[in-house]
Amino acid sequence: MTTTPIARASQARSLGRMLVVRVLGTIGILLVLSIIVFSMLHLAPGDIVKNLLGNRASSPEAIAAIRAQYNLDQPLYMQYLIWLGNTLTGDFGQSIRLQDSVSNVIGSRLGITAALSGLAFLLAVIVAVPLGVQSAVRSGSWIDRFATGFGIVGLSAPTFAVGLLLLYTFAFYLPIFPVYGSGDGGLDTLWHLILPAITLALGLGAIILKLTRTAMLRELESDYVTFGRARGLPDRQVHLIALRNAAIPIVTGASLVLTFLVGGTVLAETTFALPGLGTLLQGSVLFKDIAVVQALTLLVAVTIAIIALLADLAYIFLDPRIRAKESAQ
């Protein structure tokens, strides 16, 4: 049956309701995660006060100050609520290692990591999706064999090894790119980020390539592709129709690898000595800088939850059948 304007309006309403449900669900998951993150303070081995003092002198005054700052005299649930309240207002406490507020510490490094992840993801998608499509369309050709080989290398080569190899080749022997650091902002920073982004993009791209190729091969087998060709549509258009259908599994896969990327930046940042969140996390864990670790864990969790939410919304956008099913419930 064709949808009438009334049916469309009620569909839009129920879509809105479903959106609200999804967002509320994400918030619920984040609340549960916040409890886990909060309990990191108490679960970390050793005495809480000693952990929080770090390498500061442990005078009775310092201990009293710490107990007051972290409300350690309060019951556990009050400690959590106060911590949650502070967190929600952007106050993550003090970094013991860097003697600065956690929000400042993270804020100053977020840009680099975000730029690096974004650039890596962009590179991976721009190269891997067209390559995957071509390798599916010309299955068995040299381009397919090249793509498959590229996929195997990308998947199996460890990030730090690729990073070192790129450094040797394109910064040492052929001094095109800088060896380390994040540059002086703007284009210079972008220039500094290219090698680490390629390093990260290789693994990512390999996965997206495989996903695209598999999804496209399946879609190209389908009847609507045959029917498209049978009624004289140009190849390019037929491939676009197939890609539009393959987009659903590709987006799922891409969102999964994007979450993997969030953790993967540690290795790339270490190899290229970039002052991003990855190196910060590494240093903070080694130093038991609990406030920073808590904040970073929460940040990663929020990022992953948002990506998952966006992927869910992308399905609804990409597949009218899911849209219909969702709004029927």
Binding site: M1, T2, T3, D223, R231, G232, N245, R321, A324
Partner: protein, 550 residues
Amino acid sequence: MTETSMTNVPASGDGLGSGIDSTAQVAVTGLTIDGPAGVVVAPFDFSIAPGETLALIGESGSGKTLSAKAIAGLLPAGFTARGTIELASATIELPATDAVWRATRGRRISLLLQDPFTSLSPVHRCGTQIGMTIDAASATRLSREERTARITQSLAEVNLPADVARAYPHELSGGMRQRVAIAAALATDPELLIADEPTTALDASNQGEILDLLRGLQEKRGMAALLISHDLGMVRGRAEHVLVMRHGEIVERGVTSSVLNAPSHPYTRALIEADPSLTDRSAGVVRMASGVGMTAAVADADSAIGDLVTATDITKSFGDKTVLHGVSVTVGRGETVGIVGESGSGKTTIARCIAGLEHETSGVIEFDGVALAAGRASRTPKQMQIVFQDPYSSLNPMISVGRSLKLALRVAGRPASDLNGLLQLVELPTDFASKRPAELSGGQRQRVAIARALAVQPELLICDESVSALDVSVQKQILDLLAKLRVELGLSILFISHDLAVVRQLADRVYVLRYGEVVESGQCHDVLNAPTHPYTQALVAASIHEAPTH
């Protein structure tokens, strides 16, 4: 109508047996298809006059679909075609290059596929898909308004309202989707339309409509059509000439009515006999021959003993969509009950409620006088088993037939040594135990699915469109098997089908379902011979239309 040169004699294998009519719109000579293991379709010729239809009949695997794809230049990898296609505007020597096909497909030859549920892209609006064909065929870039006007016009030609353009395929019924596909295929005004089983996936009442629509469009445009079908009954009155293909060879050709009334080749005769819509009207001979007629009497006597399953006032809603409105169905002991309806009528939902695969919203299902709670947990395997439509997906492809059946036997607490007996029961050789589903034909797989259901010795067998995916001759074999099993095992069968002709062969009583309500029920014979509800009358009329008037 001009008489073409095709005569009612089997084609000679060399493909030179029939000349080409000079008035033909389409003439194909020496069409041969080579596969990886040699010739799969032997050389044959045909010609079609403007506005006329040639039917190519054969069962799956006969080479008819490959022939269709060869003419559209869409053969799968590993297959090549030889021969010549002469159209009014061009001559194509096979094998042709991609460039030749690009200029041919759509503009000169268009191919309509079997399944309207898969032949349209699910994520593009119907109007967009028709628009793509229009764009592909037009030399100049069309403006938005022009394209919209052309799309509306294309939809109007297939009797669809303009707002269908905004709909996605899943929002349309099967018949409407196939109309959209026809609009898309014909938007370029081709000289030849190849329709590959265009109605097989549709319900009975839609089938005739779609074929008549095609016929009308064809006459209007003077377009030649090649209609590929496994269904001889379907082509009566809808094709001037017919070719019968078997194992890649044309075994019979001629004017449709003379082939149907006086088939000269044994295979054609077998096809006609196997076709339920063609034979059953000849005084129920098939029923008697298959033993069903006899058991109907037995079942009548048995039904006095009592009802095995009674479903009373079943309602089922999905969200705010109600698909069953108080449906009541009874199956007596040893009785075979048919439920007939189109897709969306709720016939599968009622079967799934009885099987416990869906939770009914309200109503009572009793088995042997005991009320069953909704859901699978309240039922035992010995009470009922279900055989699904598609034997290709209902069997695990990774494990052998023997292992599948042994698993089922173990559920029933029967020894694995019963395996051979089980295979014999469904008339399969015992060495099939070591085969995997991929090695079996559709009919053989469905036998395995039936054997698996019978392994637990259920009292009720639910067959949900269990023969719909099969060729007619195989369909008949499976129906005969069910009839035999019913007598031997005293089974009760609930038989769900969209096909009146199939239900007629097996069922004692029948329920006709429409929009989730029983519109008519009663003894199969009475309902089908003297339907009282207008919908049943329309269904019966639609199925008779396919049958010859003896």
